[in-house]
Symmetry: C2
């Protein structure tokens, strides 16, 4: 075997429009597994029904008068406090009847459009981290440079299908931050960009920038997405409610995702936490449909447990996995695409971090999650985006992407002739069947080292997280944005400059 037997089936680091090796295989993934059912249909119906009771009998505290008015107009009962809203099940049912069962988000490169539809397997990196860490520079508050590097990493991996808010750029003023993060996403990749719901003014700014990047003056269909976290238990705050309304009216999908930590902000039982998750998600989904019937919206699932002593959240636990598996059943029960959640509590990319994220991602995939968020790079329960962790997690996502490819089992793959060619006790290294296929037969690892102990020791006995440093460094160093990405960006930059001169848009509160 010679060196050229190594063939890397990775995408190009540039992340532009052209296809690279493996590109077609990783951009549109179908989940290779049948979704699992861990509860019987009557128990799923019972969770759904109990969630409806929560909305009807206990209600939700809604902190945006405009949202309260929408609920009231639909027939919900509003308490004298003007914010406790009790939502009848017929209102929810009407909303579920208009919410679409599938959403396509267009990208500037048509090949990078994302279908949020049953059977799809979409991956999203770790997101929302105030800190960033890597072995060279340590753990630190995120900056725009870190955000840019994270976007370049994400752009270069075809098995990550959406851009995202990996790292919070804390060195950019809050009233201008959204211009910077949106522009960097648009400069870096043609993948679908992410927008935070941080107040109407910021959201409208971002919509305008994304429309301009597509050569349009307004959004003519889904081109971005956001994540809406309710404030469990049973609070929908003003920015989140406004985000749901604004995204719905603009026809952009929101992932309505209660973050239900069992024993803390949610009941201590998996089923109880899911009742709360389901109630809050249904309330948000209902609000989206009241803002605009037929608006794209995703069911969001993120329930896990906490350490009862410290209250620290945990991920990849049996409780997290079970909650995800049942969430898939609940999402199918209401007929919506849905977002599952991976993640890790680990503080570094060690065996704990790998175990937690691998188990959580596998649970999301087995649950049939349409999109799995926090699937790469999420450390410390989301407080830190780890560059090495991103790389070690990508090994899992690329493995799943390879599993999603069709498995050939026709006469050629069954290899009877090759079996006849090799004598008992022989080997297949030089068989014609092998020679014709060895270059592409197997996925090459990203960071795994298959050397034997002696070779590995000679090379310095490096751990996977140590080797991962070189992987992300090389990826970022080799990054070259596709020139085609620049096509409409002058208009985007001009818009951002004008709005900056006007003072930007401060986030609420």
């Amino acid at each position: 075997m010679s060196e050229d037997h190594h063939h890397r089936r990775r995408g190009r680091p540039g992340g532009g429009a052209a296809a690279g090796p493996g590109r077609a295989a990783q951009t549109r993934l179908r989940n290779p597994f049948a979704p699992q059912a861990v509860l019987s249909e009557d128990r799923i119906a019972a969770i759904h029904d109990t969630a409806l009771r929560v909305l009807e009998e206990l209600g939700l505290r809604v902190l945006l008068p405009e949202a309260v008015a929408l609920f009231r107009a639909a027939g919900a009962r509003v308490e004298a406090d003007g914010r406790t809203v009790r939502i009848g099940r017929e209102i929810v049912a009407a909303a579920l009847a208009t919410a679409p069962g599938a959403v396509r988000i267009a990208a500037r490169d048509p090949g990078l459009a994302v279908d949020l539809a049953p059977g799809a397997m979409v991956f999203h990196s770790g997101a929302g981290c105030p800190h960033v860490s890597d072995r060279l520079r340590g753990r630190r508050p995120g900056t725009l440079d870190d955000f840019r590097e994270a976007m370049r990493l994400i752009a270069g991996f075809d098995a990550i299908h959406l851009m995202g808010a990996a790292v919070e750029p804390q060195d950019v003023a809050p009233n201008l931050r959204h211009y910077a993060t949106t522009l960097v996403q648009l400069e870096t990749s043609a993948k679908v960009p992410f927008v935070y719901a941080r107040g109407r003014a910021q959201v409208q700014d971002c919509f305008e920038m994304i429309a301009l990047s597509a050569g349009e003056t307004g959004l003519d269909g889904p081109r971005t997405f956001t994540v809406i976290n309710t404030n469990s238990p049973r609070v929908l705050d003003a920015p989140m409610a406004e985000g749901i309304i604004d995204f719905a009216r603009a026809g952009q999908p929101a992932f309505v995702t209660p973050f239900c930590l069992m024993g803390a902000m949610a009941p201590v039982t998996v089923a109880g936490a899911l009742v709360l998750q389901h109630a809050e998600a249904l309330a948000g989904i209902t609000l989206s449909q009241l803002a605009r019937a037929g608006a794209p919206v995703l069911y969001g699932a993120f329930a896990s447990n906490v350490a009862m002593k410290s209250g620290a959240p945990a991920f990849g636990t049996p409780e997290h996995m079970r909650a995800m598996l049942v969430s898939g059943q609940l999402a199918r029960h209401i007929g919506l695409p849905w977002r599952g959640s991976s993640g890790a509590a680990a503080n570094m990319a060690d065996a704990q971090g790998a175990t937690e994220t691998t188990l959580a991602t596998m649970a999301a995939v087995m649950a049939g999650a349409t999109v799995t968020v926090h699937a790469a790079g999420w450390l410390e329960g989301g407080l830190t985006f780890g560059f090495e962790k991103f790389v070690t997690d990508m090994e899992v996502l690329e493995t799943l992407a390879a599993l999603a490819e069709p498995l050939g089992a026709g006469p050629e793959e069954l290899a009877f002739d090759a079996l006849a060619e090799v004598a008992p006790g022989g080997h297949f290294f030089g068989a014609a069947h092998t020679m014709a296929r060895y270059r592409t037969a197997f996925r090459e690892p990203l960071v795994a080292d298959w050397s034997n102990f002696g070779q590995w020791t000679e090379k310095g006995a490096l751990r996977a997280d140590e080797r991962a440093t070189e992987v992300w460094r090389a990826r970022i160093a080799a990054f070259a944005p596709d020139p085609a990405l620049e096509e409409n960006l002058d208009a985007v930059r001009a818009f951002a400059a004008r709005r900056t001169a006007q003072g930007g848009a401060a986030p609420p509160g």
Copy 2:
């Protein structure tokens, strides 16, 4: 929250007969997932049919005259060389008709009996490693002391259901080694012991020791098991053939497991490697039934790929996972319980090792493997048993054991009253529903550290593999064998002493 909120749901380190916390939940596991199908039924039938063609048209080289005679007597065609055996499909079909679809292996503690039956989820540690490693003593050739420590570790984890040959005790002479390993297993745990098929004399010695340990003079039913590896491609050597015959005649289950490395000793395609695996496994299963119709026997699956440049085997890859998933379909096609295989190529318990083993174990579980071998502690593709790796892998197996427990979703777990008790924006820490359940609501981690970054740093910023050292040390230090295990061991020791005085039993060739 006070310290006593921490409740460890682990089994006792002693591993004796009495139940400990979590014991009942982890000893008899049902697979919580529906087995996955990655190929259509007609493609499974095509693999089965092509394997039959391999046996009929190409044949197998069988290096034990006694086995050749059994095949010949059943109607197989034997070449003039006296060892190339072509096995007609009717001979295979007759064998599959008599091989039992479920096997119960009795243990000295009835609660530790193992059911190898559809839907069971049995875990087995890493096995067959010539070397052993840990962070305190480094990597070294295995000794009997290492073997004893590995058995004490295995004994103490209820989610490992079978004893095994974790480490090869190279300091014991080969003609006496089986006395030592069998005795240590019997002294350490009431779990089902493992026996190597290393020649008739050794096997009969081990059977006798196990019978004596149960207070019997002969084996009255399954009480042990072995693993039979064919020599791919298409060779069944003398000790393995003899092992199949001897285990079948004694009514003890053999796991007939070809080790098919795609591109090396097997075709480069997943489907081709599975044709070879299936042909060789069917040959071994057929031999078992020719030796004794109705003998317990398991289908064994262990196909993975190699690095094409170096020939090094890889684990937890897409090819390994796919081969396992299809193997489950093949085992169900022939109606036998089956052995799947986890493992890792990693050289230490880092993120690579955790990713490889977690993915491989998940594939085995999703494939519906009756027993998953090499599920904890296997490093370097089986060259080394790692104590830290064993601990980090046990986090996965204990998580899966927790997933196998029933998930409550009745009115109490749905927690409507708790949801009514906690106001919007409140928390559930002090809720009555939480207080009644917090001690046992969540699985406690084994080696994962959920501390925040500051606390973790103050404690020394230890990686999971570093923390794992303390876990295995504490387990082994706390080990106290159940006095009940000694009941019949004087007779066992007397037998071994007598056989030792007679010169022991050398393994073949």
